[in-house]
């Protein structure tokens, strides 16, 4: 059975919510990333406990997007953020509640 990945924000990245958007700076490569409003919504939910599916559920509830689109978008963004080392996998505590 495939283990559910839970992401958390990389503790060394700098970030701030500014005007409904999120600015993230990675000190290791000096690159600045910007998230739009829905990207920022997802960023806020990334806490090491929620799975992509759970975050997508919240996104769908908040923005009235079809659940399958919300899941695809959430997974794509999480992959992108992880590829830029803005996220790290959380030490999964079994049964952790989102």
């Amino acid at each position: 059975m495939r283990k559910t990945i839970r992401w958390q924000k990389n503790p060394i990245v700098a970030w701030r919510a500014i005007d409904g958007e999120t600015v993230i700076i990675s000190p290791s490569d000096n690159v600045m990333h910007e998230l739009n409003e829905t990207g920022s919504f997802i960023w806020r939910q990334i806490d090491g406990r929620c799975s992509a599916a759970e975050i997508a559920g919240m996104l769908a509830a908040e923005y009235e997007v079809p659940p399958e689109d919300a899941l695809a978008d959430t997974e794509a963004l999480l992959q992108q953020l992880a590829a830029s080392a803005l996220l790290v996998t959380a030490a999964a505590a079994d049964g952790a509640a989102c």
């Binding site: 060394i12 700098a14 970030w15 500014i18 005007d19 600015v23 700076i25 739009n36 990207g39």
Partner: protein
Amino acid sequence: MDRVASRAARKHHPLNAHFDLTYRCNERCVHCYLDHEDHGELTTAEILRVLEELAAAGILTLTFSGGEIFLRPDFFEILAAARRLHFDISLKTNALLISAEHAARLRESGVRSIQISVYSDEPAVHDAITKIPGSHERTLAAVPLLVAQGLKVKLACPLMPQNLLAYRGVMALAEKLGASYSFDPTITPMMDGSGGPLIHRVSTAALLPVLQDPVLSACYPRPAAQTDAAMPSGKPVPSLTSAVSSGFEFAAYEDIPCSAGHNSVYISPYGDVLPCVQLPVPAGNLRRQRFRDIWYHAESLEQLRAVRDSQLPVCGSCEIRSYCERCPGLALMEGGDVLGAYERACELAEQKARLAGVAHPLSALHAPGATARQAVGPCKTNFLVTTDNSFYRKGHDA
């Protein structure tokens, strides 16, 4: 960062803070503008509270400077708090106290960049400026420790008559060590207004070889967008900016003199809030007031925000404005008028315009019939060349 910085400036959101943690120092640099006595620095608890207020107000980039920051025994505690609050952290230090263990802790703390003062590639020249024998060797010993941790290091070299032609050596040193570099002949009066350090200022004429050096002009940053479309220009214009600027100056701001008070702020070791370390206009004190209240309600900041470059009494009609790196703080300190022109900026702008091929460049201050609003005082310049890249930008949409 330009888009974020310009939006923050337009809306007056605080984005960048320069926080001097102490004015105490273990060097005694000949040109330093600080009083090194401790007159009651903020305590650890006070600093942690201030950091929380800055984060809550939206400050993202935070520069810890001094004095020498590593003289604070609580420095790593402060750094850890800044990390928890998700700041983008940069440091300015003389690096005398940095050990291998410190370098590792700095990386773990997510520090993005470290600026280290180096005055020459020759130890004797450097040590004569810092007045600490052996300081050159100790400072440079720290650089590989930091670079080995993957930290971005910049060698910052103020230019004075005694080290003016050392810049090529500092460039070579930086390249050898895997660091970037910057040169800046800005020398300011003491914070109490006395002019002692000004004897270490390089004359405009003596700066000519530096301005003409093709190696340096190759790495001049892009000049700010200018509104003066009539300005004749063929060659690239050296863009001169401030040693204390946030690094987000270029093209981010339209018709405002600089970021000070618009999206940037300075905090002293005593909790005083100013628009910029180089602009001594008090806005409030964090021992008595909350940061938000100062930022959004201080009258001095409101007044500063109303200033528009195009409406400046002298500079607003200046034909060589696009060659000028006028600093409102230096305008105030040198000429007594934050809105005014000042001799040093005009001299430098004329020099640069001439080098760029402009025939008979004349600043508005020197133009026939010009009525300067202020007496012309002693001069300093405001000049920085750097190899530093600003941020690359990546967008993510969901």
